[in-house]
Symmetry: C2
Subunit: 229 residues, 2 copies
Amino acid sequence: MAFSTACKLQEPVTIADKLFLDLRRSILVGEIPAGKKISEPELATAYGVSRGSLREAIGKLENCNLVTRKPNIGARIIGFSTAQLMEIYQIREAMEGMAARLAAEHITADELAHLRKILERHRQEIAQRQDSSQQDADLDFHFCIIQGSKNSRLIRMLCQDLYDLVRFYRFRLKSGFHRSEQAFQEHNLIVSAIERRDGEMAETLMRHHIRASRDYARNMLENVPQEES
Amino acid sequence: MAFSTACKLQEPVTIADKLFLDLRRSILVGEIPAGKKISEPELATAYGVSRGSLREAIGKLENCNLVTRKPNIGARIIGFSTAQLMEIYQIREAMEGMAARLAAEHITADELAHLRKILERHRQEIAQRQDSSQQDADLDFHFCIIQGSKNSRLIRMLCQDLYDLVRFYRFRLKSGFHRSEQAFQEHNLIVSAIERRDGEMAETLMRHHIRASRDYARNMLENVPQEES
DNA sequence: TAACTTAAAAGTGTCAACAATGTCAGGATA
DNA sequence: TATCCTGACATTGTTGACACTTTTAAGTTA
């Protein structure tokens, strides 16, 4: 599967880049389990590339916060903790709140139309109870608003860095995560505020929305503890 | 000079790490001019290391957002634009606002005492008109609050990633940037709110403070355009 | 048996050479 | 003269070998 990152990253021309994207996908999807140590020789032979290229790819993964490295010890896939997930939600609340505020000022008519289309798709998928694709619709919604902020660094920090982590957790918590009806209503309110160009309200609603997601996730994790992969 | 990053990064044990810190310093201080292309063979011989280690160091610089790389073309120090600086301020407003809110909940008594000490130092330096060290006091203040948030990822994103950019710009805009008396007053209010454990107010005040800094910077840049280094 | 020592094995960091790509200057053609 | 081709040069990407560190396991001693 290909990840719709919304923010266009150029086609991978170099081996290290292809490797990076390949590994990133494997990690996000869970093919490589969380917390696993990365053996450079092993992976290099597995992918048929030299260790140099692999190390460069690992360096990029480190930037995405998907692996951590210790000198002379090695790299390992990041772990998995409720506390970290809560931290991410807090950061999202702040940054996406700002993104929504800016989007209310800068979003284009085309993007707004696209946003409405995403909402419509989301509505249909709820009616048909397609849980899996609702998650995509949710991501697309958030990406679109972030994109609308027109703050290029904010876009990069969110879409490129933070949302890899969001996906990392989302793929490992698939089960029982659908507060979609509620989320859909909240999305609607946010878009309305943006349409009215009410940045203050858009920010407030977005923060509320993300906080509600966080509380929901926390409840799920406390009551139905996930297995460590 | 050594940068007090507040968030402890481990001692550089590997050559690439030392190189990274060295280059980072050179860039931030302005020894390497903004926008300059990096020649791998040139730098490698200059520092007496192999190109491999240098490339790893450049990779890390890319994570700090201090250089940009294009495949088969090369790396260059980031440019310098008012627009980008404004984007950074917007992000700081969101993230440091959140940091202040969290600090009001989680900061320790020791950290609060330290914060008060920083304020006192700041006050003295204003009285003695030591413009240069006031900048350090300002950075220390912000670092201390971020640290108090106890959100480890937020701390890393701000101290490690974003504040390198802040320093990058600050070193190139030294001239005529002292709204210290005003900033000092704002700092005081923020600390008071944190002491009262009033997170809502702490966030509001921090956002106001950063927005004021932004407006001030924008005015300076519009009226006294800086030379491109 | 348990703890310490030591040597082998595995893994990471570093390097220099090779391959592929991009850049630039000179000349040919319209 | 301006544009396009062409080939030499310079730079980046990639690789395999070497050096150093960590880990493991065997062996020794109390």
